[in-house]
Symmetry: C2
Subunit: 286 residues, 2 copies
């Protein structure tokens, strides 16, 4: 998906919020905003917004001299959700529709997104779960489930730390022997990396690889050869979150996007209201 | 007031909204956003935000090949408020506190602002008035009134079209023989010009001059010599709206700013909540 004109101010706002989240040094905030503005002045808007976000987070890592400036935030959300893992797991197992319920949890988890929500301090996990469980998913669950059952090699692309605990709950309800999980190849804002997958026990239940890229999305040409091979070989991709949608929605592959609509641009693109929990099959299947 | 980092995305958002308001040509939207982004990359943030807004509206006029692209919008709001002029005037005259009430109307009118509100289509004048009349003004009314009574030469700087009908209602309650009204020197978004002052009858009741500038604020070095002389000679300035506040709040002059707080930056600067009706004396009096 291209970078829409509305994404331009949003990316700058994000650069400012994200740099403020990790440093109080106002000269760094200004240098970051200034460089992002200059880069946007030259940016090819036919490219995806996560490409610019990748640039933003490389800048923030450079200026804060930290390889993983959001580490403590990621740890906090991993722990926060892990605390309730058993409660959620029990609820799913005792449900008469466990996979649907796990999918609802997985979508609820997509709210833990520093890119779309700069004010996660006031975020209530409990409220997000409550809302998610009472909101019907927009999508064809039966078709999704049948496709998962028929598929032989499934690649599950995660999004954020904390959220991956919910992904674990969903993966536990799916035929996990057929699933490979792919996380980001290096820290990019609060996106989950291999370390996060280990921290929440995903690596204990399923094969986890990384995609070799530090983009908050899946920019195939930026990913490792190993990841690209795995992507190519998989007959079904499950992709979490807006960043993966923005970078993969024009890829000719059987992809189910699982996300919560969090901004006006995605809302328009999907023709769904902000806040909608979405299960959307890629319309560009071969 | 300097351009805060939060103003940067807001200015780009404004450029996009404002260009969409006057043309459906997406290439113009993109060219406008692109040029504004490039200009912001080089902009000295110690300068005021209305300087960048001046650049934005020069661009929009250039690309739409129109000297006054918001003319029909300005006319619409002038007429909309004029329709109720007699009703409002009667209400003020029959009030036991006519000047306070007229001041409340004048602040209510400050909501007609395309720069801060891109979605004025859904704007309800009636609701704005109702809210303004029931909300106490943050400021010292008695001090303001005494200062007006004592002053010999008052310069009243207007803000937007439509809003100037409310300014007329206030000016009618003040010693108007001492007042000169100054409008913008050339069209800049929906800011009032001499033509608007004529259209709403301001020129019939008070002396009206223009400031010689096309900035949506009062950038003194950009104003005409005649205006600057008048500004210098006046012993009291009454300045409407955020744009005038942003450009004059560091000028050493006795200025009363009359505005509604419409964004987070002004809210922080004034330490008042968004939506607050404000009567604020400049703290930098000689």
């Amino acid at each position: 998906m291209k970078t829409y004109l509305e994404c331009v101010p949003c990316l700058i706002r994000h650069a400012l919020d994200a740099s403020r989240m990790v440093t109080n040094d106002e000269t760094i905030h200004e240098k970051t905003v200034r460089e992002v503005v200059i880069a946007l002045g030259k940016f090819d808007f036919s490219r995806t917004s996560p490409e610019m976000a990748q640039f933003i987070h490389r800048l923030i890592r450079k200026y804060t001299d930290s390889a993983d400036p959001y580490k403590k935030h990621k740890d906090r959300y991993n722990k926060l959700v892990l605390n309730d893992y058993h409660k959620f797991s029990k609820k799913i197992k005792s449900s008469d529709k466990p996979v649907q319920l796990a999918l609802k949890f997985a979508i609820a988890g997509n709210i833990i997104d520093f890119a779309a929500n700069s004010n996660l301090e006031n975020f209530s996990l409990e409220d997000a779960i409550k809302e998610a469980l009472s909101t019907p998913i927009h999508g064809n669950f039966d078709e999704f489930y049948n496709t998962v059952v028929k598929a032989e090699n499934i690649l599950y692309l995660t999004d954020n730390a904390g959220e991956i605990v919910f992904d674990r709950l969903l993966i536990e309800q799916l035929p996990k022997e057929k699933i490979t999980v792919a996380v980001r190849g290096a820290p990019s804002i609060n996106d989950a990396t291999f370390e996060d997958a280990q921290d929440v026990g995903l690596t204990d239940i399923v094969k986890v690889i990384d995609n070799g890229s530090d983009a908050p999305g899946t920019i195939l040409e930026d990913c490792s050869e190993a990841f690209k091979k795995k992507f190519e070989e998989s007959d079904l991709i499950i992709a979490k979150g807006q960043g993966n949608f923005e970078t993969l929605n024009e890829v000719e592959k059987d992809i189910y996007f699982i996300l919560k609509v969090k901004c006006a641009v995605i809302s328009r693109e999907l023709d769904l209201a902000i806040g909608t929990p979405v299960l959307r099959r890629n319309s560009l299947i071969d």
